[in-house]
Symmetry: C2
Subunit: 396 residues, 2 copies
DNA sequence: GAGACTTTCTCCACTGGGAGGACAAAGAGG
DNA sequence: CCTCTTTGTCCTCCCAGTGGAGAAAGTCTC
């Protein structure tokens, strides 16, 4: 199959493509209800889109009391690739043009092995998805990496946990390999876009999406658009001061949030607690697995282990304190908590909520939902697909 | 003179009006260089603007090597009113359509006396400006109040330091009294707009504007637009936690930034220090004035008083810590420090800079200027004029 | 000071896109 | 089978915008 070559010629076409992406197949008449164009104009634009092959006719719609209308849908052969490179694993998924996941693979991989090794892995995962018959090729790909990105160029800049990636032309390299347009963004921003598209943030204009994984980051959405900051490092809240003169952090400072709570910090604290004999549950898990991770803590907490619960609660308190500050500053309409430690679930959420509701002013918290991420590991890949589709579905 | 009744009929006209506002008188040809319209189209739109009376011909421009062109400028009779209601004083200014200040009055007034008394004062100040011949009437007014505002309606919501103002229809009431369109916003946002229009932030898209006055607030500008948050309380950073389990704050919590540094806190700390005999300088000022304010501290510091300098430094450190967090989160291109305590000047600035540059990550601070406000007390009123002119110079 | 060259401004004919009505097609319902 | 509704197509009219031609008003060189 020929890959997507055409692009919408004007803002109207772009608008229509996005409506079809977000609302699925639609009749001309239904589209007309949403876009405020004259029938003739709409017909012309739809015809042009049909010509380009971006959309196709798709049978007849149900009658609304008169003549049945012909449905229009995005070309069913379009395929987007969503790639979410985490610190310790990689998610790759194929979606159709409506951003529905057709296939999803996850594989462990340490991002510190460097861009070349990681890309090899990503490409082999993409090939696997292709081989399973889900796609004959990709029309675009959206990639998330766990660090700041100079967005227009798609290049990581000074990523603390990704040595060897600084300045690597991710966008260009991957675009070459995959033979399709590629956009690169921070993994947290992708998660935010995913939740915005298909998750809890669907109808919210301004929200924060806090991702607690190996590190801690925060996606910022302003007026429906991801805000990336002047140098692309907006949302990097892991190194906000949580405890004055506190623990040393890998970044060289003391008392950073990440030094107290993150996948890494939690694993370390749990190991320590186990070794000190504070928790039989954790100790047995340490012995069994040879090490502890956030997942073990979550399991121990689920089993009712007091030490694990304390660890989670304390971390949640610190995180909540920082989030409370952000809520005062940013006054979002929603806060989403996600990332690898969502397994910690409601214990964590309760601790965060307590802090935020206690510390921020009533005007900011009065109607502020703080909720867990809805999509889990698929948020990132859906966000990736969304990122590239937003790019492709805009006027050339 | 007839007041401004017409409004730009389309986006092109609005664009032209803003260009004339920001760039002053311009020839048709110069305008043409900036707007990317065909000559004829431009001529048509300009003619229409001339018809409405919003712009007028203004003599001949200098030759650029050929026929001299006729200059166009905004109607010289247009007058905007900028009002900045602070916690303890009111600033009112008239500007022309280019937002140049023609007259500016400041008067002390406690905002807690309530909206009715304050409005009386504002109206009498406006009348005074009119009487001095600077304006025959006002075409629009922009008002800043020291608390959160529901922006679309122009109504203060739950303002902590303005009892009696909650829900008062500021916009409507003032519009009625002045007989012109009115827009209401938070005073900090106005300051940010002022600095953006005529101050240090002229060419920066994303920046923060921290105002340290009686309280502490922060204007947030994203992509050239003020960001107000979901309920209009964005930037309310005075009650961010600065010291865990610290001093009690008026808001009911402990350790808020405002409890440690603001005009009020500074005055209190200075008085305490004077009474404890820590500083002869401050003590003599306390005796002379019957009380101490931030201004006294500034004067004492300027005179080299060690205690005053310490107070400023410590406050700057706390403020800097909070700002450091915001910088990590928001990754602005500029941070402006302003407000009543700017008199504290470079001691304060140095302390803030030290904290931010030390605590935030290099990527965010690498090219981040942290500067003092350039416009001082005029920032607010210019921002007010800018607010209403932005409103009036947009398509109806 | 005359002529050549530039720039600005106005006028005008042409073009192309869009609006909206008329009409045909297709179905629902009685 | 007839009427009413909805959808889709076609066609004409209108108008805004483009861009060229040329006049007006300068500057600059010789």
């Amino acid at each position: 199959m020929r890959r997507m070559t055409a692009r919408p010629a004007n803002a109207h076409q772009a608008r229509l493509l996005r409506l079809l992406r977000d609302g699925g197949p639609n009749s001309r008449a239904q589209l007309g209800d949403q876009v405020d164009l004259s029938r003739s104009k709409l017909a012309v634009e739809v015809d042009r889109l049909l010509e380009t092959g971006l959309v196709v006719a798709d049978g007849l719609a149900a009658s609304r009391g008169g003549r049945r209308s012909h449905n229009i849908r995005l070309a069913p052969g379009l395929r987007f690739l969503g790639v979410d490179i985490g610190a310790t694993s990689i998610d790759v998924a194929v979606t159709n043009a409506e951003l529905e996941i057709l296939g999803h693979i996850n594989q462990p991989m340490d991002v510190r092995e460097g861009p070349v090794a990681v890309f090899e892995q990503v490409l082999s995962m993409a090939a696997k998805l292709k081989a399973s018959g889900l796609a004959e090729g990709f029309d675009g790909a959206g990639i998330g990496v766990p660090g700041p990105v100079r967005f227009p160029e798609g290049v990581p800049v000074a990523p603390p946990i990704m040595p060897g990636w600084d300045g690597f032309p991710v966008r260009e390299a991957l675009s070459q390999e995959l033979g399709c347009p590629v956009m690169v963004d921070n993994d947290v921003n992708l998660m935010a876009m995913g939740e915005q598209h298909a998750g809890v943030a669907r109808s919210v204009g301004d929200f924060l999406c806090v991702k607690i994984g190996t590190g801690i980051g925060c996606g910022i959405v302003v007026g429906g658009e991801v805000y990336r900051g002047t140098t692309g490092s907006a949302g990097d809240i892991g190194h906000i001061l949580a405890v004055p003169d506190g623990r040393p952090c890998a970044c060289g400072n003391r008392g950073c949030l990440e030094a107290y709570f993150s996948g890494a910090a939690l694993a370390r604290d749990a190991t320590e607690a186990a070794q000190q004999g504070l928790s039989a549950e954790l100790a047995s898990r340490l012995e069994a697995g040879g090490g502890l991770s956030a997942v073990d803590v979550a399991a121990a907490a689920a089993a009712g282990d007091a030490t694990a619960l304390d660890l989670i609660r304390e971390g949640g308190n610190r995180t909540g304190q920082v989030i409370a500050g952000l809520v005062s500053f940013f006054n979002p309409g929603l806060v989403v908590i996600g990332g690898g430690v969502t397994g910690l679930g409601h214990t964590l959420l309760a601790a965060i909520r307590t802090q935020v509701y206690r510390q921020s002013l009533p005007l900011a918290t009065g109607n502020l939902p703080i909720v867990l991420c809805e999509l889990g590991p698929t948020a990132g890949v859906i966000g990736g697909a969304r990122l590239i589709s937003d790019h492709l579905f805009s006027p050339a």
